[in-house]
């Protein structure tokens, strides 16, 4: 029974890690060795050529920067806008509050792909295709983020607001000096969600960028693969460099991250 349990877990973990391990192996193996038949998990040979060539064969540095700006920009702006909206919904009473909340819930239920075609037309007419603002601004707020932070803000005792209000604090002051400082873990978790989601996204940058120099890494690599004779070693080096920041970030804060997902069950 014990053997079976650990056997199943080891096989499961092995299968899950296989493509990631293979990526690393292939990225440091000479092309001739990785396309040899029969294939092997350890084809032998060693090279760093793929890692030096990737910067020249595609504008990898530029696409890396694009990915950082896109994912970082969306994360920073969305955290600000999400938390402002969540504050109003969680801590204030005003006419129309329910309508706004229902709108947020409705947005959560609609598949985001439905807006791609009209957004493409809209961004084209604004001349925002192939721009950072075109990639970032339509995602500057997020229904899930607002919902997530609202739920968190609701758990912060109301007495704290009242105390600050008696001390003459404005609403913005309460938001900034009471609520935000108490929401560090929630903001960090949500920030990670936003950053990973956008860093990893393929369809969005595929639609709103057409120039190689404006693509993010997932789109850039996928299109490079589609357009050239496939050079797997090179692609795997690019893939490793693309995934590395996310894997590192995850390993650093995995506990909080996994708990964040377990408690929200969303996204």
């Amino acid at each position: 029974m014990r053997v079976l349990k650990y056997g199943a877990l080891l096989v499961g973990a092995g299968l899950v890690l296989l493509p990631l391990v293979w990526m690393v192996v292939a990225s440091i193996t000479p092309e001739a060795a990785i396309v040899r038949y029969p294939p092997s998990l350890l084809p032998g040979g060693f090279t760093t050529d793929h890692y030096t060539q990737i910067w020249e064969r595609i504008p990898f540095g530029r696409q890396f920067l694009n990915t950082v700006v896109f994912a970082g920009g969306v994360t920073a702006i969305s955290l600000l806008l999400d938390s402002l909206a969540a504050y109003a919904l969680a801590r204030m009473d005003f006419p129309g509050k329910n309508a706004v909340f229902v709108l947020i819930l409705l947005l959560l239920m609609i598949p985001p792909q439905v807006t791609l075609v009209p957004l493409f037309q809209l961004l084209s007419s604004l001349d925002w295709i192939n721009t950072y603002q075109g990639l970032i601004v339509p995602r500057a707020t997020n229904a899930f983020g607002i919902f997530f932070l609202r739920q968190y803000f609701l758990t912060i005792p109301r007495e704290l607001d009242e105390a600050a209000r008696i001390d003459g604090s404005s609403e913005f002051g309460i938001y900034r000096r009471v609520i935000l400082p108490l929401s560090g873990p929630a903001l960090l978790t949500l920030g990670l969600f936003h950053f990973m989601y956008n860093w990893n996204d393929l369809l969005w940058p595929l639609v709103f960028t057409t120039e190689t120099d404006m693509q993010t890494l997932p789109a850039g690599l996928a299109l490079f693969m589609g357009e050239h004779v496939i050079e797997y070693g090179l692609l795997m080096a690019g893939a490793v460099l693309t995934l590395l920041p996310m894997v590192a970030a995850f390993l650093l804060v995995q506990r909080r991250f996994i708990e964040g997902i377990a408690t929200t069950g969303m996204k």
């Binding site: 038949y37 791609l116 997932p218 929200t264």
Partner: protein
Amino acid sequence: MRARRTATAYAFLAPTLIVVGVFMVWPMLQSLADSFYDKSIGPGIFVGLGNYTKLLGDPAFLIALRNTVFYAVAATPVAVALALGLALLLNGHVRGRGFFRSALFLPSVVSLGVVAIAWKFLLDPDIGLVTYWLRGLGVDVGDGVRDADVAMWYLIGVGVWKNAGFYMVMYLAGLQTIPRMYYEAATIDGAGPWQRFRKVTWPLLGHTTMFVFIIAAIAALQVFDQIFVMTRGGPHFATESLVYLVYRKGLQDFEFGYASAIAWVLVLIVFVLSLAQNVFFSRRAVRF
């Protein structure tokens, strides 16, 4: 005073409402309006329900709908069952629990589009390592991603790879909520492992299962990334999904009206599932 508070509240909401209005609600309404027009670049002609009636006779749409439903019907239960199995294995005292949990969750944090490149390599019909292993086990994988009968199963496999660990974490959270004494009581009453699962775990995980099942189905209905990287919808549209078809018709062929109609079919399907989820879960106290 009240008016001022209202004004303050809307000042907090204003940036969000502007972005939501301009970049989410308006495009959605535009998309709905477009779906009643025969429209490419330019103003277009009103055709009423023309696009929708055209869909019913369009093999491209019917194939994509069938593929999407097939993908969701196959990938959802497999991913959910695996997630439950892994969660049960990892629940309780397991040596290396942290390692296994992190390893199994890792696919959730990496880009599916990027890992799909590695999967395409591993599943290559000529030189792929996994193809080689599968053939060694006597599995007939034909021409792999170039084979209409095999390609969809590969895409399902990659989708399950991506999501099972994520759902596993939700099951682990669900398992945490079951009081230990229920198991102790069942054991005292003479229940074996299977009976404990059947009579305690499974019924008490009912809500988790329902929740995971619905979000898994919604995610599956939106499948795109591994299709784009591994098959581009081929061979001969055998793996084209609804989202891929929206992408192809709307953003490559610029048939804005027709693509919008396809997108709204997807909205309708996903919305019904989401609504079922919300109705189901608002009837009990959700602890977020």
